[in-house]
């Protein structure tokens, strides 16, 4: 969603045609008391928006948002949903598991970067490490082939995994939010590389180079999530939930303030928003998405080793995000799908010893002809059609 988009969305939501900029000014000048009321470190910053811009409008409840979203359902949404639900019967087990489930799990991790980058203006290279924190936690606390695993029930391991992912993501955010652009990238990359070496060289906790084997998805109510079909639907449910969560979040006062921070942090600070708190909270939420993706990915692979969180994978998440386009949450999943398809089938298209050339060439072409990835290609096409 571009800046113009969210302004429009914002205006539609509030039932006013007044440009946002004016409303900020109005909010600031009209009620300075509102700004003082705002809970300072909470990060949600509901004061300014809650007080001034949502007058006469129902609050942003999740269920209301859901109902409204249902009202906005279009034929193409239904078609996409049907296609996703029917996919396992269109393809075979291999396509369901290796292409479908893997793309959804990687897409979740990419979504965390798309959310941070597209709506918060922060490019973090540590998202795969955050996913790795969750994956390692599940392997260490849950059951695996290594002796040092504690063998807790899966739900406890997953809960702790997601919790640690959010904590570590908030920590990375807290470390890096005062920086901009290339420096954010460097700090998050440093965190990712440090975590890789920690996992590689620590034996008492991370089991070093060998990592954890046989970390399998659990069996719940007689359904074994190791099987391709149940696992695909588990990934699909998580991905849909995360997608809707992001779509909902960007319309809450927090999400809109976050986009304000992206576009002009100094003005937002001047308006009384705690820029740092908004950014750290965005990192925390992205950590939840990445952690969820990390848990699914460790179940998908059935193992986790330092190789799952090395520099190559840190960069791959960025590649998927750019490939799909960062202007809409959908881009994350599109990018992951194309990436997985290339990784799997490029070797059939070209000389088997040089198939990485295909992957590189496709990436280069997409970025060259559409700076906004596949989504950019799509919207460009649509513009040309409607012309």
């Amino acid at each position: 969603m571009s800046a113009a988009h969210w302004r429009r969305a914002m205006n539609r939501g509030a039932g006013q045609a007044q440009p946002l900029r004016d409303r900020f000014v109005a909010a600031a000048s009209a009620s300075s008391s509102v700004l003082q009321d705002r809970s300072p470190p909470g990060g949600r910053g509901p004061g300014a928006f809650g007080g001034a811009t949502t007058v006469g409008q129902p609050s942003f409840g999740f269920w209301q948002a859901l109902m409204r979203a249902l009202g906005m359902l279009r034929l193409r949404h239904l078609a996409a949903l049907l296609l996703l639900l029917a996919f396992p019967w269109i393809g075979n087990d291999f396509l369901t598991y290796q292409i479908g489930a893997q793309a959804l799990a990687l897409g979740l991790i990419t979504l965390s970067l798309t959310f941070l980058g597209g709506y918060g203006g922060m490019i973090s290279l540590a998202q795969m490490s955050i996913a790795g924190v969750a994956g390692y936690t599940v392997a260490i606390l849950g059951a695996s082939g290594a002796e040092i695993s504690l063998g807790w029930p899966w739900w406890a391991a997953v809960a702790f995994g997601l919790g640690f992912a959010v904590l570590s993501a908030s920590f990375v955010g807290w470390l890096s939010v005062r920086t901009e652009g290339i420096y954010t990238i460097m700090i998050t990359l440093a965190f990712g590389v440090a975590f890789y070496y920690l996992a590689l060289q620590n034996y008492s906790l991370f089991n070093g180079f060998q990592g954890f084997q046989r970390v399998h998805a659990p069996e719940v109510f007689g359904v074994s999530f190791r099987k391709p079909l149940p696992f695909y639907f588990l990934c699909l449910a998580c991905a849909l939930a995360a997608y809707l969560l992001v779509k909902w979040t960007i319309r809450t006062p927090f999400g809109i303030a976050l986009q304000g921070v992206r576009d002009n942090p100094r003005r937002m600070a001047a308006l009384g928003f705690d820029v740092t708190a908004h950014r750290v909270a965005a990192y925390g939420l992205a950590g939840l998405l990445a952690g969820l993706g990390g848990v699914l990915l460790v179940w998908y692979n059935g193992l986790i080793t330092p190789g799952s969180i090395n520099t190559g994978w840190l960069i791959n998440v960025l590649v998927m995000a750019v490939l799909g386009g960062m202007s809409h949450p959908l881009g994350a999943f599109l990018g992951a799908l194309v990436f997985v398809l290339l990784q799997t089938f490029a070797i059939d298209l070209f000389d088997r010893e040089r198939f990485n050339l295909v992957i590189g060439a496709v990436f280069l072409l997409i970025v060259l002809f559409s700076p906004d990835g596949l989504l950019g290609l799509w919207s460009g096409l649509r513009k040309r059609m409607t012309k």
Binding site: Q98, L200, R214, N301, L303, G307, Q343, R352
Partner: protein, 417 residues
């Protein structure tokens, strides 16, 4: 769009025809599909490419057919990470529907692919180059076979050779992961049994650059150092050990005394003469089968075409495993019916003729084979090369121990301070 329509129709029609033809060929039961998985990316890319050469050589020697059926090879690549290896194996097995999979190359990949093989009873898995002990010792899979010996077996004979040189106390300096653990175990289990002592083991990180603290820990009273470091790490260690004035004789692991080390130009070059190491092959071995194998490799993959002057370890193990896959097919008459029942029985009983001698399988479908102890010597023109010191046949995975007393090598196992 309109102009594209005929082309689209043509594509669909030709695609359908191709599918039909492929289906017909499959129905006749002609070709045996063999998936070949090695690392064509990442740190072992060069080794993986040579492994592929070795496997292809075994197919070429049979003229591309076995038991009247054509052999079709489908290659896949990984980057030495187990998750990537399993993804590549899954594509070969479930999408390309190979009958037999040969691979992967490195240790942790092997364990992961073995775990995956348990859920795919319709496919027979034969190892490529991976040498982790746990692959066949812990939770072995009934359809995973390994015709190469592994890290611990490769060091058998070195302990005895060290004792005969008069080394009683040896310090271990090795990288901190599974392969060196198994190498150290292979050496120590024999060395300790013959009365040797290992007072200190120094585990250093893989790819480490600074060995000063390790060198400072070397006690005065040890007779020799067992150095299990790979390629660049070994050269770095030698340089720093020389700079620190060290003069202890060195025992090497299977990948330590490589050509990089033999080309070493430092002052201690002379002291490398007499260095013992052990491994599954020796360039200077003068067995007739080995010489024929090297000759064949050189003819098919001359240095000008990217081959090595002599087949590498990976070419040798991939050749061995692919040869086993084909010899087994020959013995079973190409019969892969009934979930490969006849084929697997043939593989289990196979007396495989390899360039270094006969290989048989144990109850866990792990190879029992030959190990060479080699010694560095100087030839007339002053070049250093590895000469065969002794040859040990019939080396078993449990290193002569009973099943109950055997433990997989780790940082603390075995110990004899």
């Amino acid at each position: 769009m309109k102009t594209d329509k005929p082309r689209f129709v043509r594509t669909v029609v030709s695609g359908a025809v191709a599918l039909l033809l492929a289906g017909a060929a499959y129905a006749q039961g002609q070709a045996v599909k063999i998936g070949l998985l090695a690392t064509l990316e990442g740190p072992f890319a060069a080794g993986g490419a040579d492994g592929m050469r070795g496997a292809e050589l075994a197919v070429k020697q049979r003229g591309g057919t076995v038991a009247g059926r054509k052999v079709e090879i489908i290659k896949a690549s990984s980057n030495a990470n187990p998750d990537v290896a399993v993804n590549a194996a899954r594509k070969l097995v479930e999408q390309d529907k190979v009958d037999i999979l040969v691979g992967p190359l490195s240790g942790s990949e092997g364990i992961a692919v073995k775990d995956y093989s348990r859920g795919q009873p319709q496919t027979t898995f034969i190892n490529g180059g991976s040498g982790a002990q746990a692959t066949t010792l812990v939770n072995p899979s009934p359809n995973f076979f390994r015709f190469n010996t592994e890290g611990a077996q490769w060091m058998v004979g070195l302990g005895k050779a060290a004792i005969s040189k008069g080394y009683k106390r040896v310090m271990v300096i090795a990288e901190d992961y599974a392969f060196p653990y198994s190498q150290v175990q292979g050496f120590m289990s024999e060395f300790c049994r013959l009365g040797g002592k290992v007072p200190i083991k120094a585990w250093v990180p893989l790819g480490g650059k600074d060995y000063a603290s390790t060198i400072a820990r070397i006690p005065k009273d040890v007779d020799a150092l067992l150095v299990v470091l790979g390629g660049a790490d070994a050269v770095n260690f030698l340089n720093q050990y020389e700079a620190a004035g060290g003069d202890k004789p060195i025992l090497g692991g299977s990948i330590t005394v490589s050509q990089d080390v033999l080309n070493y130009k430092g002052k201690r070059r002379e002291s490398l003469v007499g260095t013992l190491s052990a491994g599954p092959l020796a360039d200077a071995f003068d067995g007739a089968d080995w010489k024929a194998f090297v000759e064949d490799y050189r003819k098919n993959y001359p240095v000008s075409a990217g081959g090595y002057p002599s087949p590498s370890l990976f070419a040798f193990v991939y050749y061995t495993n692919m040869k086993a896959a084909l010899d087994g097919l020959e013995a079973a008459g190409g019969d892969l019916s009934n979930n490969h029942q006849k084929y697997r029985a043939a593989l289990s009983k196979l007396e495989l003729k390899t360039p270094t001698g006969i290989v048989r399988l144990d109850a866990n479908r792990q190879a029992i084979g030959t190990t060479f102890v080699t010694e560095v010597v100087k030839d007339a023109s002053g070049n250093l090369l590895n000469k065969v010191h002794s040859k040990v046949d019939g080396v078993e995975q449990l290193l002569g121990m009973k099943k109950e007393e055997f433990q997989i090598g780790s940082r603390d196992v075995p110990a004899c301070p």
